[in-house]
Amino acid sequence: MELQLEVKGATLLARIRGEIDLAVADSLRSALDKELNGNDEIRHIVVNMGGVNYIDSSGLGVLLGRYRRVSKGGGEMFIVGAPPNVRKIIEMSGLLRIIPEFANEAEALIRAV
């Protein structure tokens, strides 16, 4: 897994590539939390999953945890560009009902204000 983080105003933009399973869940969780802990301005998260080719419940747990965290602070979380097989897993988990998805980063970033 590769993770690229960028802060745009009040939004943390996380671009993830590769496979999200148990082997990387901890490091993904810590990397995101470290950024959230270190910057009080951040209220929203946009996760670009365009480069993700595998996810299972370990990865969904990380998404749900970060969703809960920003929700508590009144922020929102969005998903961008999940490929069909990854999107199917996220959808089956019910997460798409609480974490809206957008076709591209720009649209998600406009919503996250």
Binding site: D21, L22, A23, S57, G61, L64, P84, N85, V86
Partner: protein
């Protein structure tokens, strides 16, 4: 193609082996006429079972051993994942969706295993370990392929 084949894979309870296990299982399953979509689903089901063995069975301790059996019988795939970990007290409860004993998990492991198999059987005895058996027929129509 041969109509009967069985492989046994043994590995330690390391998180990096979740990926190894799902790829190995899918490479084996590919001997049947599964679609790519089917194989993706089989990968998730195997990953969930192996992840549970590591996270719950062995409480994230890397000293445990996990056994994965994959068998082809005619056009059926049978996958067995076994650990000799702490076992499950209440199997019925564990099988309920969103029932997790771990706050950082969603309790969806068994749901995915169920969705992506024709049959799922869980045998477990506290203190002795857990055996999860999944079967999937390759003629069967699967979940429709993912689409946007």
């Amino acid at each position: 193609m041969e109509k009967h084949n069985i492989v046994k894979i043994e590995f330690p309870s390391l998180p990096s082996n979740v990926s190894f296990a799902r790829v190995a299982a899918a490479a084996f399953a590919a001997q049947l006429d599964f679609t790519l979509n089917d194989l993706e689903e089989i990968k998730v089901a195997v990953s969930e079972a192996v992840t549970n063995a590591i996270v719950h069975g062995y409480a994230n301790n890397s000293g445990g051993t996990i056994c994965l059996f994959a068998e082809i019988r005619k056009d059926n795939l049978i996958i067995v994942v076994e650990d000799r970990g702490r076992g499950i007290e209440n199997i019925e409860k564990a099988l309920q969706p969103t029932s997790s004993t771990d706050p950082e998990r969603m309790g969806l492991g068994f749901s995915f295993m169920q969705s992506f198999s024709d049959t799922l059987r869980v045998e477990s005895s506290p203190g002795a370990g857990t055996r999860v058996t999944m079967t999937r027929n390759c003629g069967k129509k699967s979940t429709p392929p993912a689409s946007h």
